[in-house]
Symmetry: D2
Subunit: 351 residues, 4 copies
Amino acid sequence: MVEQIRKNFSSDNVVPACPAVMSALVAANADAAPAYGGDAWTARLDTVVADIFERPVKVFPVATGTAANALALAAIAPPYGAILCDDSAHIVQSECGAPDFFTGGARLVSIPSEDGRMAPDALSYMLDRLPADNVQNPLPTALSLTQATEWGTVYPPARIAELAQLAHARGMAVHMDGARLANAIAHLGCSPAEATWKAGIDVLSLGMTKTGAMAAEAVIFFNPALAEQFARRRKRAGHVWSKQRFLSAQILACLEDDLWLNNARQANAMAQRLASGLFRHPGARLLYATEANEIFVALPHRAITHLRAAGFTFHDWHTPPGVDGTVIRLVTSYYTRIADVDALLETLAAV
Amino acid sequence: MVEQIRKNFSSDNVVPACPAVMSALVAANADAAPAYGGDAWTARLDTVVADIFERPVKVFPVATGTAANALALAAIAPPYGAILCDDSAHIVQSECGAPDFFTGGARLVSIPSEDGRMAPDALSYMLDRLPADNVQNPLPTALSLTQATEWGTVYPPARIAELAQLAHARGMAVHMDGARLANAIAHLGCSPAEATWKAGIDVLSLGMTKTGAMAAEAVIFFNPALAEQFARRRKRAGHVWSKQRFLSAQILACLEDDLWLNNARQANAMAQRLASGLFRHPGARLLYATEANEIFVALPHRAITHLRAAGFTFHDWHTPPGVDGTVIRLVTSYYTRIADVDALLETLAAV
Amino acid sequence: MVEQIRKNFSSDNVVPACPAVMSALVAANADAAPAYGGDAWTARLDTVVADIFERPVKVFPVATGTAANALALAAIAPPYGAILCDDSAHIVQSECGAPDFFTGGARLVSIPSEDGRMAPDALSYMLDRLPADNVQNPLPTALSLTQATEWGTVYPPARIAELAQLAHARGMAVHMDGARLANAIAHLGCSPAEATWKAGIDVLSLGMTKTGAMAAEAVIFFNPALAEQFARRRKRAGHVWSKQRFLSAQILACLEDDLWLNNARQANAMAQRLASGLFRHPGARLLYATEANEIFVALPHRAITHLRAAGFTFHDWHTPPGVDGTVIRLVTSYYTRIADVDALLETLAAV
Amino acid sequence: MVEQIRKNFSSDNVVPACPAVMSALVAANADAAPAYGGDAWTARLDTVVADIFERPVKVFPVATGTAANALALAAIAPPYGAILCDDSAHIVQSECGAPDFFTGGARLVSIPSEDGRMAPDALSYMLDRLPADNVQNPLPTALSLTQATEWGTVYPPARIAELAQLAHARGMAVHMDGARLANAIAHLGCSPAEATWKAGIDVLSLGMTKTGAMAAEAVIFFNPALAEQFARRRKRAGHVWSKQRFLSAQILACLEDDLWLNNARQANAMAQRLASGLFRHPGARLLYATEANEIFVALPHRAITHLRAAGFTFHDWHTPPGVDGTVIRLVTSYYTRIADVDALLETLAAV
């Protein structure tokens, strides 16, 4: 079994929860606690997160990233609104229309990019195509940015700020899908505040599951006015746990002593090591800069077969026209060790 | 602390998760596992549930009862549909419009009852008011019954069957909100099959959280045709866990060796003991028969103050016009012990 | 044919459009006009309505009463909101869930009344059951009142004011379904302003179809802030006509020289004459006061058969338990003449 | 005034309704008629349309094209569905999210094309990206094709058939936005049947407003099974007129004696004449083949100013990168005369 996990590069959500998270769950199970968020763990969330982000916040725990994103977007996009985002965004590609559902039919307007990072020019161009005074188009009310991006790249905060400024100038609110924000911060070496609200983010889906939790994400409002009635939206979406302490305890455990960031640093370092090795491999072609914990690499079919035969697991990805070989995705996590990476690279070298 | 839980009668969701559930979570955390339900725990769900319910089923785990109910109803009620239910139903009173949201605006049509158990006559009458050929009214497509009811009473399966027959005759599907089905089965002494599909239930929200889980409910389709595309609805509602093994493991732990039913038996027995004591107390008036683990009792204001001063916790409930005193709700759980009940009764006797 | 219409008491929407409306349509058809409401007719709407209602307004024409109601409610009720209304309201009984659809799943909370007029006590009681700080219930955000009511009675403006005050105290907005507001004003002898915003109405669905138009209703915002983005909601509901002049021209024609009110006066007078005659008829029992143009009367089965045999048309209505005979609804319109009413009464007398 | 209409090339919905339509409205106004579609005009619709399309059909009149499209799509696309369409489609570009709203959040997946006509290869590619067994993407359930296209081109029926076949192979239903189907049929010289169901169309939005009606479109189901409960969807969208005869009478008038097609022929002929003239004009560049009644032409800024100064009206259009000058749209209608076209061309020649 342990053999298996060492060779599993399919995702950062196939690994176990951190020991610290499991201990926190056990500790939270000792006694009775008020239901529906009236518990002591939930009571601490706002303060703990405010400390880390250096600003008053409103925090709402939920169990999945899709819930966090879709609920956050519903708070800032009315049914007649448009949500602008990168074409690669999880909300477009992987959530089966959750934002469309939660908003009551707002339109996702996706903007193509080279590497998952939206270009300010492209955003400007699209905003010009969606004038506020033409009722034939939905009203742009939300910008959603993914950090780290779906292609494993990371926005510099200055780019975020530039995009957010364009959005704010149109009266829009800015959401960050931070399923892998920990990895982005680990890469940037900046503070959580610099990565988010100081760059113009109004509401954040902060992922904990990929960085160590069992199932926990936090919707964080930097602009508390936007959080009004969010509690009702969350309730009516079935995303309030009766025993909510078990959600909040996970988040607290991840945030304590920078566990979330340390875990992300480990994942990133392993991705760096892996990318360096692949870069030196003839026949391998890395599609994007490796800045977080995801690698998209084109490999000859023979190499892929060989890796799989040796027990390694990973996902095939969509291979764009014009790319030789087949694209696979390799994901590292807090659980990945140097020996795991090296084993893969050695197996590949033996092809 | 432990003192506290012994005096807590506010709800069956204020207590810890069962030791067996916590052990199962720890065990599921040992190694990597495929994400999004591709894991070994989820793979066993259909079979395990089919064994218990003596029939092939499709099982979908989710974290909350509201999610289970609203998703199940969306599978059987189109946006132009009507969902008939008892006026006391959780889906009407306590879910902030979740069914309205998940169905895209189907109408909850609530039918008054004496004690939470819908009367066949009342259902017939309402169905007559909603003819299929009058497009001015929504089309009745779903009947939702709560077992045990919100007032702590239990439907005899024959009554369920009678109601289900009326619904089926109109082409409707029948849903059971089984947040406390374990308590109902414990009371009835019937089999899970007799309590559900043999009485005409098509889809069941089976609650595990109130009977021992941390956060886990199962949507169970007895009619697999209704389950088609349910997976997509669940995804787009943000109710698919990436690390789904942790949901499925809880459910398996609860079902193993009848833990869910044994827990419910303990809760029911404690409720019986409490109800008997209250019945003998002058000034106390039980509003409904105590058949599950909830007691609604009217007490003089002085008695309530005295109990609270002694450290007992419970919720005030809506006091209907014409009832003397104030109505409180007392809930027992698998965690409640004889000494806990007796302590409350003795404190009350001392008023 | 003309024989037929003289004996038709089924509804005020079975009669032809007024000659003035038809002339207005023909006149509007003379030349090109900008599409989508950029025309000269639409340009006049706000001013003309403002003059009549003695206050600046925002006016949006649509073709049906259901559209007017549902769009207006969507402007004031978020998806997590509750809309309080009388149990007899058209939005509850006859629009197949249009408000549920347009709001994205807001909950209609209906309050029973004697005669279609909501009692302030009943509203207070229900508001107490829906506290703002309990996320388990939807948030009361809209009150909808029907004037004249569905039972042909009329609210005194003071009663409207009392109800509106209760709603405003909770931060709710107040909608009036004025499908038959003309009849109510004709009965009250008050000004349009007194019947609406002076009594606390924020947004009005003003019916023109029942009082003479072909297909035209106006959504009128007395509080222009609520109208923001209403144009987008109307567009995305498919309720913007490309040749909108033909909607606006109808409304202008109805409003000119008090045609809408004069038509309503004629309808009311005919209803009064009919009600007086029925009152004197042994065996007939009027269920409600006749204050507008609808009469609900219980008649012996034999009398009903006789009327139908003589060529009269009208609808059977739901006969409440405890009422002798069968309830029918008789509706008069601007088209009804004294001879038409007398013919029905004479036929009835002959039974 | 009449001067004005002669120089108005902005749209085919700025012109008056046909005399035949106005006469039909006046004729329909002679007497009482049952409400909500129980009238004699509506009763004839199915038969008249079936005759024209050579097949049994279910016909539902509505007042706007957006309503027709969005309601038709809601009948074939569940909330978790994807609707595939050309990137230029009216449902994507000009309806403010109506399909998103009516379907409860289905996703519009738009496919780029050269000239508004979707390529089968492009459809295949996109279908491959949306596998049925991956719940992360919405399920492709509807294909929507626009005939004539938004760029004034016309699909050959064989191309429609090829696209429909790909869709049907995936179990999808095929919708045609036929706002200008009359113009397409006039161009193709085929039968209405050949242009639609014989090529695989399941449900059609048939536009009458642009070809002569005041405000009338018909949703036509060639597959009657898809029409089940459509009446309820239409009702709850507020698109059932109480005096529905006035909708149906317009449609009957347009269909009688091929008026709709004759009107379209006139519009097309005028567009041909105009396009030929523009083609010979140095500095003018036609962007697409002129096959219906819309022309998109790039002109030097000076020419455009000159035309406007001379009283001609038309809309600027989005000018794609790389096109010299400014793109304008010129639309002809049944009302356009040879002299009108020649006047514009002469004015242009004088620049």
